[in-house]
């Protein structure tokens, strides 16, 4: 898709719209724990090709301090041989509290997986080319702070109910 000269201003316009156009509070997650990206190559008349990640970094100034810090991964070298083997076999930070596991699974299935195709179709209709949504909710949800597992799916997709709740207070 890349190759045609794209003004940097077009990218900046969308970035500003994305950053300011919706709920800008990330208090539910550790402040720096997530990045939202769509990879774009932007050609500029002054510089050569620049790869930019569209991300939500401009929202940080409005965010409250996280209530707990980002969990730290132990260095693999400091682990016992057994734990080291297990850590290589399991993906990092994909943990869920056991009691929340069924709620999380249902929420992801009902509010995220079931709507993904619908959202992809809507985006493709707007842009004129396909965009795949690829979010591993289980991996990211480990960083959620004060929300119940039943809210996991809709946290990433959004819904009228949450839109109402977010702006009603």
């Amino acid at each position: 898709m890349a190759g045609t000269k794209v003004p940097l201003s077009a990218y900046r316009s969308f970035n500003v719209l994305y950053s300011n156009g919706h709920c800008t509070c990330d208090s539910q997650f550790c402040r720096h724990s997530l990045k939202f990206t769509i990879k774009m190559d932007v050609l500029d008349s002054i510089r050569s090709v620049t790869t930019l990640h569209l991300q939500d970094s401009s929202r940080r100034s409005t965010c409250p301090k996280p209530q707990r810090s980002l969990p730290k991964l132990p260095s693999r070298n400091s682990l016992s041989p057994f734990v080291k083997i297990v850590s290589y076999l399991s993906p990092p930070l994909t943990w869920v509290r056991y009691a929340d596991a069924s709620d999380l699974g249902a929420s992801v299935r009902d509010n995220y997986e079931s709507k993904k195709v619908e959202y992809e179709t809507e985006i493709a209709g707007l842009l004129g080319f396909p965009v795949k949504i690829n979010i591993d909710v289980n991996a990211v949800w480990a960083y959620a702070q004060d929300m119940g597992a039943s809210q996991a799916g809709s946290t990433f997709t959004g819904s009228a109910r949450f839109l109402y709740e977010a702006y009603a207070y």
Partner: protein, 59 residues
């Protein structure tokens, strides 16, 4: 607005911004957007570097 009731809406937010963008810039804007995107995929991933790095400095 109470921050504890505020919810991330990544995909809704993306679509909302996209609609505003297309409304504002029209077909030419869509063409620019298409040419700028090298991988048509939206992701939300864990930043394992945490607060130790500024997001804009990520590759």
């Amino acid at each position: 607005m109470h921050t504890d009731r505020c919810v991330f809406r990544y995909i809704d937010g993306f679509i909302s911004a996209l609609k505003s963008y297309v409304d504002h810039f029209g077909a030419l804007g869509k063409e620019y957007f298409k040419n700028a995107v090298t991988k048509g995929e939206l992701t939300v991933t864990v930043n394992e570097l945490g607060a130790s790095v500024h997001l804009s400095s990520l590759p």
